[in-house]
């Protein structure tokens, strides 16, 4: 273990154009682009499916099918097919992002539609009965109530993307995967294990950020009563009825 520690704490490895800082930034960059694209596809589609109840079966099957595709194989196929169409770095970046997006969409999509489907039907019904339009029902009731599951889809997708983005190094892109591949090539186990530790640490840090955002974004009324801080506070108010 000590060589992992030595590798991680040696300032020399952190600096420079192939140092840890740069690789971290690249890795985060791939993950961020992937998640933005995947969310832009998965969330609207999931909301639509949940709200209208249409197309659910087709999408569930498709998502499950995608899950069974081997990621590395898909990556090589994508490079072979998309690569020649593009020039320069983009020739590798676009296929890599494409594959990551394919991987990232299903959990986000599932979270969004499961979130909408989990909304109490009587709340939805009351919203309509009070004169809300279909659009108002979606944005004022369904989406706010679906947020916990939307977040959980985003978070599991994020963890998966950060872990899988190491594969980009195998098609000569950057990211933390470089340390794994280069470490193996040079039999530098400190670098390999250190890279793995960094991937895990990055995933946890990003998840923590999501947890904080979720805490702020989700109404306290949707948090189970026992764990909400509010209920502990309001219990002090005498109950009049």
């Amino acid at each position: 273990m000590s060589f992992v520690w030595e590798w991680l704490t040696n300032p020399a490895y952190w600096q420079g154009s192939d140092g840890i800082w740069v690789r971290l930034a690249e890795h985060l960059g791939y993950a961020a682009i992937t998640l933005v694209v995947a969310a832009a596809i998965g969330i609207p589609l999931g909301l639509w499916i949940g709200h209208t109840g249409r197309g659910r079966l087709a999408v569930v099957n498709l998502a499950n099918g995608v899950r069974s595709v081997p990621t590395l194989g898909l990556l090589f196929v994508a490079v072979l097919v998309l690569g020649p169409l593009l020039a320069g770095d983009i020739a590798f970046l676009v296929p890599a992002i494409f594959v990551l997006v394919v991987l990232a969409v299903p959990p986000i999509l599932a979270g969004a539609y499961a979130g909408i489907e989990s909304v109490d039907p009587s709340a939805r019904d009351a919203a309509r009965g009070m004169g809300m339009s279909s659009w108002q029902v979606l944005w004022r009731v369904e989406v706010p109530c679906a947020l916990p599951l939307i977040f959980s889809g985003l978070r599991s997708s994020t963890l998966q993307v950060i872990a899988t983005a190491t594969l980009t190094a195998s098609i000569s892109l950057g990211g933390l995967g470089r340390f794994l591949i280069d470490g193996q090539a040079y039999r530098d186990y400190g670098q390999m294990a250190g890279g793995a530790v960094l991937v895990a640490a990055l995933a946890m840090a990003v998840d923590l950020v999501f947890a904080v955002v979720q805490r702020i974004a989700v109404s306290p009324g949707l948090v189970p009563v026992r764990t909400s801080r509010r209920s502990a506070r309001t219990r002090l108010v005498p109950n009049p009825a």
């Binding site: 109490d120 009587s122 709340a123 019904d125 009351a126 919203a127 309509r128 009965g129 009070m130 004169g131 809300m132 339009s133 108002q136 009731v141 706010p144 109530c145 947020l147 109404s219 306290p220 009324g221 949707l222 009563v225 509010r230 209920s231 309001t234 108010v237 005498p238 109950n239 009049p240 009825a241």
Partner: protein, 367 residues
């Protein structure tokens, strides 16, 4: 006024939930739809605000065919209390209540202040305003549902079993408050319940539906009890119809006898002296409000709360024959206690005098 004309609803799949229903619901009155589960009550209610479109027939609100109105506008003009509550879990009590005012485009501050007024109106403490629905008791949630429907002061209220999910004591409390509120507001209310006692208590008129959604009888509660249209209605009304019907006849001039009393805390000798040989003696408080009965001969000391027999109900002078009769029947002395509107003792009445009154008017016209 809401008028249903020959309204039929057949669901896809062929269930005829409502069939040829014609019904007029007068302005400012409570019309109760009652009937066994699955008889089409909810379907009927939801056709009024077009949550469900009738298969055939027309529904008019104040002379206008609802089919010609925008559903959103129609619904925002009608308070709707949904079966099962339907509160928004992500919104505080106050914001739940402010929903329709905000939809109508009121500014936030005005919507919130009106919501706070509604909370007071339905008996919700202001301390609950910032709570979320999952932090409320069942009774409180139902009150929020009613307050939310009332918030924009709609002339029409559609209420689908609003008091069904609470225990009998709370339900009775909510019903009493509801009647008090309606006396103040005079809304046109369509009230759905499967509880015939609730229907009889709350309705100005009661529509009894049979399974399949046909109207079995439309009548005022007293008439319903006195003259059920057929066996189905009679069965549905249940037992004790004669007795329950007495609730709708005001007791006119019952012979009220003065009743000797002692104040709580009096000593045993005073009690025995006052009773002058009667088995039971009425105990009152300082304000002359009846508290219960004691048997002076059984007293070992003073008249205390522990010695009181509280079995007797108390009727109000000018109240119903049912209340007067029940007061007499439930009193251990068989003398029914009558009080005035402020709760002060007036005197007592005997069951046979109430019965004489009932027999004197055998052909009571429904009130």
């Amino acid at each position: 006024m809401i008028a249903l004309r020959e309204v039929t609803k057949v669901y896809p799949g062929g269930t005829a939930a409502v069939e040829g229903l014609s019904l007029v619901m007068p302005t400012g009155q409570i019309t109760v739809l009652v009937g066994p589960s699955g008889c089409g009550k909810t379907t009927t209610l939801r056709m009024i605000n077009r949550m469900i479109e009738p298969t055939s027939g027309t529904i008019e609100v104040d002379g206008r065919d609802t089919a010609s109105l925008n559903p959103g506008v129609l619904r925002r003009g009608m308070g709707y209390v949904i079966q099962g509550g339907g509160l928004f879990p992500h919104r505080t009590v106050l914001d739940n209540i402010a929903t329709v005012p905000l939809l109508l485009g009121w500014d936030r501050r005005r919507a919130r202040s009106v919501a706070a007024e509604q909370m007071e109106r339905v008996g919700l403490a202001s301390g609950l305003a910032k709570r979320y629905p999952n932090e409320l008791s069942g009774g409180q949630q139902q009150r929020v549902g009613v307050a939310r429907a009332l918030a924009a002061d709609p002339p029409v209220m559609l209420m689908d079993e609003p008091f069904s999910a609470v225990d009998p004591v709370v339900r009775e409390q909510l019903q009493d408050e509801f009647l008090r509120l309606q006396a103040e507001l005079g809304k046109t209310i369509v009230f759905v319940t499967h509880d015939i006692d609730e229907a009889i208590k709350l309705g100005d008129q009661v529509a009894v539906l049979r399974v399949g959604g046909a109207l079995a009888q439309l009548a005022a509660p007293a008439e319903l009890l006195a003259d059920p249209a057929d066996d189905f209605v009679a069965d549905f009304l249940g037992r004790d119809r004669g007795y329950r019907g007495l609730a709708f006849t005001a007791a006119p001039d019952l012979p009220i006898a003065p009743e000797p009393t002692v104040v709580l805390g009096a000593d045993g000798d005073t009690a025995r002296l006052t009773a002058a040989g009667r088995g039971w003696l009425l105990v009152v408080d300082q304000a002359d409000a009846p508290l219960g009965w004691v048997q002076p001969t059984q007293l070992s000391g003073a008249v205390t709360r522990e010695t009181l027999h509280r079995g007797g109900t108390v009727a109000t002078v000018g109240g119903s024959l049912r209340a007067a009769l029940d007061a007499a029947l439930s009193s251990p002395s068989r003398r029914g206690v009558l009080v005035d509107d402020d709760g002060r003792l007036v005197g007592t009445v005997r069951a046979q005098d109430v019965l004489t009154e009932i027999e004197r008017e055998p052909q009571r016209s429904p009130s």
